[in-house]
């Protein structure tokens, strides 16, 4: 690796300073503030701040609904990550082929990523709406089953999984496309000469060589599903029906923002923070060993 040498001692520090400053102001400061606030019962306007130690955590962990919400979150992010990545890889492989109008296909496939989660939610809300949505209308020709996600939890959850996958699709696809194009053609050709069919080639060569991309995308999608999806839930289901789509980040947001229970919400953010740190650590510790760079 080429080693860069700076003649000025302070220049490198000056160059990283803005990034460090941004990280401190926008990440460490709020994170520590949440940590502090999670130990208090705090009034909305800040006139009352009562230290209650682990009281918020006791309240949270004594609530079965919180564990249901955790289970929903894990299920949700697993579905979003694995179905999303499988689909993205499939379409990336197709879009990597030499076909006419490739640039147009690629652009169209990347498009959804430019849409905010809340807007993606509203689009799917219109598609799925039990009364005036296109999909329930079409399904009514096939089955008499009522796909009313206002009352059926699994339908609501499926709906936000689909919307989240769709929203993240372009991003995943872009990375897989780049990854596919970085695979040397000579390796694949050699495999063909040795008699490997397309499926064998994919699993023996392409997929292992894509593993750094996959690893990166799994981490990123899990984090996306855990953190960035509250706009989606907020626009479509508001956590309902019952608490079927009340994922952890949405609960934390709702208790803090709608409910103005700031300490309680901060405690939830702290738990979320720990979960994501743990998730990332586990992935780096174990998954990275299987990754070929």
């Amino acid at each position: 690796m080429k080693r860069t040498v700076f003649r000025n001692r302070w220049l490198p520090y000056a160059l990283v300073a803005p990034q460090v400053a941004i990280t401190i102001v926008f990440f460490f400061w709020p994170a520590f503030d949440s940590l502090r606030l999670s130990l208090y019962r705090a009034s909305p306007f800040g006139d009352r701040l009562i230290f209650i130690g682990g009281g918020n955590f006791v309240r949270l962990l004594g609530d079965p609904a919180y564990f249901r919400s955790a289970a929903t979150s894990f299920g949700f992010s697993l579905f979003v990550t694995f179905i999303g990545l499988a689909l993205a890889l499939l379409l990336a492989s197709l879009a990597n082929a030499k076909i006419r109008g490739l640039a147009i296909y690629r652009t169209l496939l990347l498009w959804p990523y430019g849409i905010a989660p809340a807007v993606a939610g509203v689009i799917w809300l219109f598609v799925f709406h039990p009364s005036f949505g296109v999909l329930p209308y079409l399904l009514s020709f096939v089955t008499a089953y009522q796909f009313n996600w206002f009352l059926k939890g699994w339908v609501a959850l499926t709906l936000i999984v689909i919307a989240a996958i769709w929203k993240q699709f372009g991003y995943n696809l872009a990375f897989y496309l780049a990854g596919l194009q970085a695979i040397p053609g000579s390796v694949l050709e050699a495999a063909s000469v040795d008699g490997a069919g397309p499926i064998r080639r994919f699993f023996a060569i392409t997929f292992p060589l894509l593993s750094p991309v996959t690893f990166f995308l799994v981490t990123l999608n899990m984090t996306f599903a855990f953190f960035d999806t509250f706009g989606l839930v907020h626009a479509v289901t508001q956590g309902g029906p019952g608490d079927a789509t009340s994922i952890l980040v949405y609960r934390a947001w709702k208790d803090g923002f709608d409910g103005l229970q700031l300490g309680y919400s901060a405690a939830q953010s702290v738990i979320l923070m720990l979960l994501v740190i743990a998730l990332t650590a586990v992935q780096f510790r174990y998954a990275e060993k299987k990754v070929t760079y």
């Binding site: 009034s43 909305p44 800040g46 019952g242 309680y264």
Partner: protein, 436 residues
């Protein structure tokens, strides 16, 4: 961001912060509100009229998003010691504001600045909802109450007479006929907790929470799982199961069904008249009626929703005089009648109601009269003066969550309401612990 763009931004920020406008002599009054669409235009209209009527003050009306967003913006600004002078807060935030210590009560503001307003002219339900110790804490602004709407075309199709149902038995019987006639949403409702739980309790003189619904001190216990609440929920659960009640989602989401012309009978805020008038034009005809009553329970009154204007502490004394002057302007009978007439909100004073009556407004817009008549025909009791809970927004959400479990058949009416009470009490006790 490129460095030059950043530089421009910084320079702009310095300019804005460094040079307060010295050319304008008038004192600026910040007014943050949550009115959107047509209502936003009406707010701008009334502030513009006030600004034109005098030269000492300029009221700047700023839309800050939804009600919760507006409240959060005001909280953040207050904590940063830059509060707006006036903020519009929805009714469920009333206790939060009262407890906050961040508020300059409006009756005090007016008497401090020697502006006389006849508070007794305010209609009873509004005065009681927003007063503490008989004194108005915030300036009444936009209030509504739920009423019943029905789609006349669907009624005709189902062979029903052109008349709103007046009891829940009638709602059930008519909704079943509508269902048989192929109407997709025979009966529906928006604001599930506000209309079907909060208002139904008040309307039948049933307690919603302890300590007179929180008017005699901070409430800590919900009362919604009594015989009345259970009976009401069982009725709706049966409707959902049999298909004559269509659940349309939390808060005001259900209105989309009525707006699309799919519902036969519908309950929601009286302030929905404006939207429905526009949506139904040329598509279907509709009528209004009082909220339905459940046989065997006493008469109470429906309660109000909407928002009031709160004056925040932390501004300069000279600026408060402008706020008082603005409120005095808003409170005039002429402006009250105008506001109610163009928005569909309730007229807040008796004299405004009379003015609207005298001008023939109600003869031309009979549906706007329904809510007024409904409230006048009710009985104000400790159970129907209003509901004042800490963190009410969270409590309401907990109730709607369990209503969904009841309507989907996951829980019985009793079980769902019991669970809502447990969760609601936890939220109420947290709030009470904060201000004990």
């Amino acid at each position: 961001m490129t460095r030059s763009a950043l530089g421009v931004l910084v320079a702009a920020a310095v300019l804005v912060a460094g040079f307060p406008s010295t050319t304008v002599a008038a004192t600026e009054i910040q007014f943050w509100h949550a009115m959107t669409g047509v209502l936003d235009e009406r707010v701008n209209e009334i502030t513009a009229k006030f600004n034109a009527s005098q030269s000492d003050y300029v009221v700047k009306a700023v839309n800050k998003g939804s009600y919760p967003e507006t409240l959060n913006a005001a909280i953040a600004a207050y904590r940063a010691k830059q509060p707006p002078h006036v903020v519009q807060v929805f009714e469920v935030g009333t206790q939060t504001m009262l407890s906050s210590g961040a508020v300059y009560p409006v009756h005090q503001l007016m008497s401090d600045h020697k502006f006389a307003i006849d508070w007794n002219d305010l209609i009873g339900p509004v005065k009681s909802y927003y007063s503490t110790g008989g004194q108005l804490a915030s300036m009444a602004f936009n209030s509504s109450t739920p009423i019943l709407y029905y789609n006349k075309d669907h009624f005709k199709k189902a062979g029903l007479p052109d008349k709103a149902p007046s009891t829940w038995d009638e709602v059930e019987a008519m909704a079943k006929k509508l269902q048989a006639a192929g109407v997709k949403c025979p009966f529906g409702s928006a604001w599930p907790s506000w209309v079907l739980v909060e208002n139904m309790h008040a309307y039948h003189d049933q307690p919603f929470a302890d300590r007179s619904n929180g008017f005699d001190g901070l409430a800590t216990t919900l009362k919604i799982n009594g015989p009345f609440g259970v009976k009401m929920m069982e009725l709706l659960a049966r409707g959902a199961k049999e298909g004559w009640f269509t659940y349309g989602g939390r808060v005001n989401k259900g209105e989309a069904l009525m707006t699309a012309g799919e519902c036969g009978i519908f309950t929601t805020s009286s302030a929905y008249i404006g939207n429905l008038t526009r949506a139904a034009e040329g598509k279907f005809t509709w009528g209004t009626g009082f909220l339905p009553r459940l046989a065997g329970f006493p008469q109470g009154n429906s309660i109000i929703g909407g928002a009031t204007l709160w004056v925040m502490k932390g501004a300069k004394p000279g600026e408060y005089k402008g706020v008082a002057q603005f409120f005095k302007y808003l409170a005039s009978t002429e402006n009250q009648a105008w506001w109610a007439g163009v928005t569909g909100y309730l007229p807040l004073t008796n004299s405004a109601t009379k003015a609207l009556e005298a001008s023939g407004h109600y003869a031309k817009n009979p549906h706007q009269k329904t809510a007024v008549s409904q409230m006048n025909s009710g009985k104000t009791t400790p159970n129907s003066q209003g509901i004042r809970l800490g963190n009410f927004n969270s409590v309401r959400d907990a109730i709607e969550e369990q209503m969904e479990n009841i309507f989907s058949g996951n829980k019985t009416a009793k079980q769902g309401l019991d669970d809502a009470v447990v969760k609601g009490n936890e939220i109420l006790k947290e709030f009470a612990a904060l201000y004990k």
